[in-house]
């Protein structure tokens, strides 16, 4: 469903932040995206959720060559992608309910059609009592859960999450991870960018590991070994 071939990306005249990135995600797969800060994770995610186009290389998403897909056809592709942004990107003047319902509203559904689903999902992420609250009054963890609920409410084919458990406690982190796994079982392809090794240790999933803009694909076991070595090497 998703294929990158020799993808390179540079911003303006700067150095390449992604170099010859090649990988493939199959329908229903579960991957982690790992790498140090500045390794290019956010840039890669931006390409994945169609916030930019690569400088070179080939990207195929849902069978569409992104380089030749007309701009008018991009919204339909984007609606099949759910994104949890690291900085949440919630709309401050909307309530939690309205923020979560946004993808459904954009897709043309009426409030009557989505009310029940949105309320159920907010209850599931533990925000039943915060449905009418606006983001400025929510804690970091609550905002994160609203952002996650918004990303999955439309049951996307591809879920991209940037540090989705960074602001919640361990218990809620695991609960959210179960949510991603459940979604994955229903057929959604999941890619989670994270630094959280306790999270990656919980799931036997391959890693897309970025190092200075270059991507390596590691199996779950290889990723664990790499993490252990990195821990030992750390001062």
């Amino acid at each position: 469903m998703l294929r990158f071939e020799n993808v390179g990306l540079r911003y303006d005249e700067g150095p390449e932040v992604l170099k010859d990135v090649t990988f493939e995600l199959h329908q229903g797969s579960f991957h982690f995206l790992t790498g140090r800060s500045g390794a290019g994770k956010t840039s890669l995610l931006r390409l994945l959720y169609l916030a930019g186009r690569p400088t070179r290389g080939f990207i195929s998403l849902f069978g569409h060559d992104i380089a030749t897909t007309p701009r008018a056809a991009l919204p339909a592709l984007r609606r099949r992608i759910g994104v949890v942004f690291q900085d949440f990107r919630l709309i401050d003047h909307l309530t939690s309910f309205e923020n979560v319902a946004l993808p459904l509203r954009i897709s043309g559904m009426t409030a009557r059609d989505y009310k029940e689903d949105v309320e159920e999902l907010l209850a599931w992420v533990g925000l039943k009592d915060q449905m009418g609250a606006r983001p400025p009054t929510l804690s970091g963890g609550e905002k994160q859960r609203v952002a996650i609920a918004r990303a999955i409410v439309a049951k996307p084919d591809l879920l991209l999450a940037d540090e989705p458990t960074g602001n919640v406690d361990h218990e809620m982190g695991l609960r959210l991870l179960r949510l991603f796994v459940e979604l994955n079982r229903l057929g959604t392809t999941v890619l989670i960018a994270t630094h959280d090794r306790t999270l990656t240790a919980r799931i036997d999933a391959p890693h897309l590991h970025l190092e200075a803009g270059r991507l390596a694909i590691l199996s779950a076991a290889a990723a664990r070994d790499w993490a252990a070595e990195a821990e030992e090497a750390a001062p």
């Binding site: 959720y49 169609l50 916030a51 930019g52 186009r53 701009r71 991009l74 919204p75 339909a76 592709l77 984007r78 609606r79 099949r80 992608i81 994104v83 990107r89 709309i91 003047h93 909307l94 309530t95 309205e98 946004l102 993808p103 509203r105 954009i106 897709s107 009426t110 409030a111 009557r112």
Partner: protein, 312 residues
């Protein structure tokens, strides 16, 4: 699709989206602060006020011109300049014979010295007309506007029959009035056009500013799969509300001003006809806000779409 069809389609989409949002009581996605909303409202209201005033002024000028024009078309004047060849009373008698025998002449009325003196009073002052000053005799002639006489032939017949007779058809005065009226109409149209351009420019700047302020939100909506039309529709919701309220406020203020003018100039119907009784003015109070709202809505939509299409 032609430009007109595209505009009609955009207006239909906008209306449909606005009605849907209103029906569901959905909160606006684009937040325009109270300060920006208030400023935009004031600008639109001022534009609407001037547009209504210009349109109301056109209606007034039309009315005044029509009443003057009818008066001038219905009446001609025969001047009988005193001569040695014929006595004044005989001049009048002969002129009346010629006039009454002319088809198309409806009414003939000689103007006596007292009445002629009254006509000169505004220029000479009361009682300043010397009693021995020889004044031309005047005959007021009312013509049938449906079947008017040939004024050139009438003028010749009068000239031949009565020494010193001159037929004043007010042609020169009418020509000057028509020229003046044309210029006023042109200036009014120019004023309306400039107000329209200023309104469009204001809305373009305001839309750009709101888009720039909400850049992150617009990007987010795009990333969630929103079409440009959906985002533009959110802008329209704001601008159409501000446009209609501002338009209405401006038009009502202009109507009140015109009404005040009508009341202040009561008793001077010749220069300021009774404006308040003109139903067209009330129509203006409806049409101008609708037009202002339409211009606001379409300008915001077209500007937003133009900018959005440049994004990825």
């Amino acid at each position: 699709m032609s430009q007109a069809q595209a505009v009609a389609e955009a207006a239909r989409e906008a209306l449909s989206e606005a009605l849907k949002a209103r029906k569901e009581k959905r909160p606006p996605l684009i937040a325009l602060g109270w300060a920006s909303s208030g400023l935009l409202f004031s600008i639109v209201a001022v534009m609407s006020f001037f547009a209504s005033l210009a349109a109301g002024g056109t209606l007034t000028i039309d009315r005044v011109f029509a009443s003057w024009s009818i008066g001038l078309t219905q009446a001609v004047t025969v001047q009988l300049v005193p001569t040695k060849e014929m006595a004044a009373s005989e001049q009048v008698e002969r002129a009346l014979v010629v006039l009454e025998a002319t088809p198309g002449v409806r009414e003939v009325k000689p103007i006596g010295r007292e009445e002629a003196s009254a006509l000169l009073e505004p220029w000479l002052g009361e009682g300043n007309l010397p009693a021995d000053l020889a004044l031309p005799q005047l005959v007021d002639v009312r013509v049938d506007t449906a079947h008017p006489p040939d004024l050139a032939i009438l003028a010749d017949r009068l000239k031949n029959a009565v020494p010193g007779a001159v037929l004043d058809t007010h042609l020169r005065w009418k020509g000057q009035l028509l020229t003046f009226w044309s210029w006023v109409r042109l200036l009014e149209a120019l004023a309306l056009g400039l107000i329209g351009v200023a309104t469009v420019a204001t809305i373009v700047f305001a839309t750009r500013a709101v888009l720039e302020t909400n850049r992150e939100l617009v990007d987010l909506l795009h990333l969630m799969g929103a079409h440009d039309a959906f985002i533009a529709g959110e802008f329209q919701r704001h601008f159409s509300i501000i446009g209609s309220l501002g338009g209405l406020a401006g038009a009502l203020a202009a109507l009140a001003a015109l009404w005040g003018l009508a009341i202040a100039s009561r008793g001077n119907d010749y220069f300021a006809p009774a404006l308040a009784s003109d139903s067209k003015l009330f129509l203006l109070a409806v049409l101008v806000p609708v037009a202002v709202c339409g211009v606001t809505l379409l300008t915001a939509r077209v500007t937003a779409l133009t900018i959005l299409r440049r994004t990825i």
